[in-house]
Structure formats: structure tokens, C-alpha cells
């Protein structure tokens, strides 16, 4: 087994608002191994971005509150660290890529300077080395004519190029963990495909661990080794990318997979939808937070929160449907058909070791 880089244990994050305390993250636990990509997927308000910001200790306090849990990075708990100690870790060990490349770059500073600044701050290079390394980084992230770009300002680049610069800055101090919060959401699909390729390529070369936050299941399928599905501040299903996409166990995951049309679905079949909208996290519902929207909800779902049930060594799901006494509810037909069609097209290796 690869060594663990990050271990999050029972993390709770609350926000104080005038309307009450929002329980944005309610007991999230996961681990991340070296060199792998964990995708955290969920809808807006599911707590996925709060979780990733919490890892960087970027939750403003107030109104944010670290209400419980641990964030172990290389075995060291980040929660009690103060700003000064965190500053050493940010950029150096953990770097972050945000959604909007324009707002994460300083518009008044040349691109080259923004990269070398990170290196010098963390004493990663001498001043003369820094420039050479910055140009090399720009080259690595696929920016043509890096020497010329080095002396340009962010507004002189296109959106895709800017996101490449953001990635170059994130890589400048050679971090062990890269957190990417919807890094391609603001980009066009063709640019998105390029950025995803770039990120996978870099990860392979540098053995960086990546936490990839997104709402797009297509992107998840493209980048992830493992997936955590979040709903209402909790991880509801957790497994390898194949397990989540081909053997989903949680009804919310079924809903997500079913509500996305793929290029093969025809206009005649209505999309499967998840009715309603996510709950208000000021007063989360009793029991399973997904129950009111779940057509397969059991009586106990409204009474008691389900534990994480183990499906396999790597696959867990938080639904009472996995209880030995629960009725056996199959994956909805439309979702199952789609999975079957994928798996048939898929390679034989996968078919051979079928679930």
C-alpha cells in the first residue's frame, strides 16, 4: 500500500450566520495516498469546497468554526496550527488551484515574478535559479514561448493560458499535495480537456497527490483514482472510480449518474431526476439527510442516521439499503442499462473481474 499523505478524521466545520449556525461539514473522514487523485464530487452547498478550504486552513474565523475533528498531513494535525505555521505549509507542502484564474492572479504583477516569488518565499531556489526554473515550469505547463510570457501580465493571456499559469505557480514550490477546486469549471470544454490532460501528466511525473473538487461527473471519470460523493456536508459514498461509476450503492449516486445525459441517450427518454433540493444545513433533517428526496427511503431513514456500510475493502456507502435486513433494491433500470453499455464497451480486464 502506498503511504498515506493526508488523513481527515471526523471533520466538522460550522459557520455562524445571523439566521443560525450552518453545519457546512458534518463529520467528514477520508484519506489520501501519495500520488493518487481523490475527487470530491457534490452539488453546491454539499460542503465539498468548505472541506478543501479547511485543509488549507482557509476558513475565515469568524464566521467559520472548526467544530471538531483532525486533519493529519504527514501525521501532523493542521487544525491547531496558527497562521504563521500554516503559511509555511501553504504553497510549500500544499498548493491550491481555484476556479477563476483571473482572480487568483495578481493583475499588476508580471507572470514570471508571480512564480519566482513563491520559490523565493519558500527558499526553494536562489534568485538566479528562480528565473530559469520559472521558465522551465511555464514550458512544462504547456505555455508556448515561455521566455516571452515570463515578462507578460495576466490580462495578456487567454483564460486557458491563465489557468496554466496558476498551475505553474501552484507547482513552483514542488508541493506534495495539490488541491484543485473546480479548476476547469470556468473554462470551455476544449480548454478543460487540455487542462485535465496537463494535470494528469504533471501528477504522473511528480507523484503529487491531488484532491480534485468538482460537480462534473464526466471530469471525475476522467481524472480520479478514487471518489468521495458528498451530500449535505457528509460523504455518502466513497470508493475507487470504477466502483462509484459501475457499482454505485447510494441512491444519491444513482440520482447523480441518472440525471446526466450522455451522448448516447436519446431525446425520447426523460432524464431521471432527484426531486426537490438539498436540505438547509442550519437544521439538517433527522436521520438520513437524503431521505426526503429518496424514492427508496426506508422508515428508519427518517429516524436514524445510517453508518458507513462496507461494500468492499475500498468501497463504502452511507445508506440503510446496505443493511443485511434491508430490502434488496436494485440500481434503477436506466442507470443500470447505461452502466452495462459502458462496461460492454470497456476493456476485457474489467469484465473479467466483474465486481
Amino acid at each position: 500500500m502506498r503511504p498515506k499523505l493526508v488523513e481527515v478524521k471526523d471533520l466538522h466545520i460550522h459557520f455562524k450566520t445571523y439566521a443560525g449556525i450552518v453545519q457546512a461539514v458534518r463529520g467528514v473522514s477520508f484519506e489520501l495516498y501519495e500520488g493518487e487523485t481523490l475527487a470530491i464530487v457534490g452539488e453546491s452547498g454539499s460542503g465539498k469546497s468548505v472541506t478543501s478550504n479547511a485543509l488549507m486552513k482557509l476558513i475565515p474565523q469568524p464566521p467559520g468554526i472548526y467544530a471538531g475533528g483532525e486533519i493529519l498531513f504527514n501525521g501532523r494535525d493542521l487544525v491547531p496550527l496558527n497562521d504563521k505555521e500554516m503559511a509555511k505549509i501553504r504553497g510549500n507542502d500544499i498548493a491550491m488551484i481555484f476556479q477563476d484564474p483571473m482572480t487568483s492572479l495578481n493583475p499588476t504583477m508580471k507572470i514570471g515574478k508571480q512564480i519566482t516569488e513563491v520559490m523565493l518565499q519558500h527558499n526553494a531556489a536562489s534568485r538566479s535559479d528562480a528565473k530559469a526554473r520559472a521558465v522551465e515550469l511555464l514550458h512544462q505547463v504547456g505555455i508556448p514561448m515561455p521566455e516571452k510570457r515570463y515578462n507578460q501580465y495576466p490580462h495578456e493571456l487567454s483564460g486557458g493560458m491563465r489557468q496554466r499559469v496558476v498551475i505553474a505557480i501552484a507547482l513552483a514550490a514542488d508541493p506534495k499535495l495539490l488541491i484543485a477546486d473546480e479548476p476547469t469549471t470556468a473554462l470551455d470544454v476544449t480548454i478543460q480537456a487540455q487542462i485535465l490532460e496537463l494535470m494528469k501528466d504533471i501528477q504522473k511525473k511528480r507523484n503529487t497527490s491531488v484532491i480534485f473538487i468538482t460537480h462534473d461527473l464526466g471530469v471525475v471519470a476522467n481524472v480520479a483514482d478514487r471518489v468521495a460523493v458528498m451530500y449535505a456536508g457528509q460523504i455518502v459514498e466513497y470508493g475507487t472510480v470504477n466502483e462509484i461509476f459501475y457499482n454505485p450503492k447510494h441512491p444519491y449516486t444513482w440520482g447523480l449518474l441518472g440525471s446526466m445525459p450522455d451522448l448516447n441517450s436519446s431525446a425520447d427518454d426523460l432524464l431521471r431526476t432527484i426531486p426537490g433540493s438539498p436540505p438547509n444545513l442550519i437544521s439538517p433533517p433527522k436521520g438520513d439527510a437524503f431521505a426526503p428526496r429518496n424514492e427508496h427511503a426506508l422508515a428508519i431513514d427518517y429516524e436514524q442516521e445510517p453508518p458507513m456500510f462496507k461494500v468492499s475493502e475500498t468501497h463504502y456507502a452511507k445508506t440503510w439499503l446496505l443493511h443485511p435486513d434491508a430490502p434488496k433494491i436494485p440500481v434503477p433500470l436506466a442507470v443500470q442499462q447505461r452502466i452495462d453499455s459502458y462496461v460492454q464497451e470497456g476493456d476485457d480486464v474489467w469484465n473479467a473481474k466483474k465486481f
Binding site: 445571523y18 439566521a19 426531486p275 426526503p292 424514492e295 427511503a297 422508515a299 428508519i300 443493511h323 435486513d325
Partner: protein, 311 residues
Amino acid sequence: MTLEKQKLEKLPANAFEVVGSRQAEQDKLADKSVSFWKEVFYRFIQNKLAVFGFVLLTIIIGMAIVVPEVSQYKYSDQLGVYNQPPSADHWFGTDDLGRDIFVRIWAGARISLFIGITAAFIDLIIGVLWGSIAGLAGGRTDNIMMRLADVLTAVPYLLVVIILIVVMEPGLVPMIIALCITGWINMARIVRGEVLSIKNQEYVLAARTLGAGTGHLIVKHLIPNALGAILVTMTLTIPAAIFTESFLSYLGLGVPAPMASWGTMASEGNKALMSYPWRLFFPALFISMTIFAFNAVGDGLRDALDPKLRK
């Protein structure tokens, strides 16, 4: 994933009946309906400084209304006791003509507040009209209107005011005109900025696709949404006007005797600063307190309205 050994307690069989989703809970909205202004109010009352400013302002305005009516002295009564320090009879002392400073402060408050509020109100009307027309029309009209405003700002203000007051004889009306000559420009600029951003909002486009005319857009969309910024600007214009009034009075261009504004009182008090300091102290104190109170309320309002803090 850290997972404790799963010890499944035995649950009753009926716990696993499929009961399905609950429509009622899916689309439940919050119990109480909170309008935008209620939300602003909640945030405002959480700001202690702003609430303090508001209370202070209420007291000042209340006193200005009540005290001159119920007091045993009139603001122009000469009581024959000159330059008395504060005492039980004359709480803030008396001035060189033997008038009770406490009553004069509140009579002066009426004048100062009246000038400030009227000036701000006139600024509001001219500024909102000018700014919204410029912002809505855009293009050349906008350019001409805003350049005109720029030219007016460039004229040396004090010179114009002094000439105006000298020509028209000091008094309330010239004072207000003087304050409004350039006062509205700030409001016009702010309203224009708001209008420019609001008019490209999708809800305004939507109203246009429904066939809405300019009048409908202004009444239903532009004004309600610019109201916050207008209100803040107005609360911040009033203290500026009060201050300018005091300043002009101090130069001797204020309302004529025996009327008193805080500015004229401070101006007179200044002459006797060394011997009778309370004659300057009280008007100066109330000018400062009022300006502070208005600013605190204005800042509080702005924070309460700031969309970045909204959730």
C-alpha cells in the same frame, strides 16, 4: 476511511419498510419569509456602533424638537446673567448676551439639522434624476451630462459660495443653495454607477423582453435596487452639509442673529475661548456628535446592504 468495526444492532423489521421520498420536505422554504429590508435590518442591529449612532441621533433630534418648546427660556431671551459657567439653572452656561446656551444648542440643532437634511434632500432629487438619466441614456447624453458635472466640480467652490451669500444676504435659503451647488454631483455619480450596473442585469433584460418601457424599468427595477446606495450616500451627505454649514457660519457667512446654528454659536464662542471655554465647547461637541452619529449610521447601513456579506 476510518471505520469502527461495524456492530449492527438488531433493528425492528418495520424499520426497513420502503416509505419513499417526502414531497412536503423537499421544497420546504424557511418558515418565516424574510424580505430584503428585514434582512438588512437584522444585520444593522448587530452592528453596535451603528445602533449607538442611531440612538444618539434619535436623542439629538428628539431634544431638538422638544427642548425649545418646553424650556422656561427662549433661545433669544437675554436673561441679564452674562458668561455664566454651567450651573443648575443654566446647564450649559450663558453667553455674552446672557442667553441660555442649553436652549440655544437645541434651537441651533433645529437650524443645523434642517439645513443638513434639506440640502441632502435637494441633492437627492437632483442627483438621482441627473444620474439615472445619464446612466440610462448612456452614450453621448451620458458623456455630456457627466462632463458638465465635472466642470462644476472644477469651479472653486468656496469662492462661489462666498459671492453667492454676499450677494443674497446671509440666511437659510442662500445657505441651502450654496450647499447644493455641487453637493448633488456626488449623488449623481453614485446613482449613475448603480444604474449602469443594474441596467445590464438579467432581470432588467428580462423586463425589456417582456416589453417594459423606460418608466417601468426605473420605478420597478432601478430605484428599488439603487435605493440602498442612495440611502447610504444620503446619510453621509447630511453630516457633510452640517459640517459645511458650521464652517461657513464660522467664517461669518451663517444665519443672522438672533437665530443660532451650531456653526454661528461656535464662531461666537471662539472669540471668548480663553475666558469662557464652554461657549465653544458645547456647540463643537454637538457638531462632532451629530456628524459621528450620521457617519456611524451610514457606515452601518452600507455594511448591512453590502451584497458581499449577504448569504
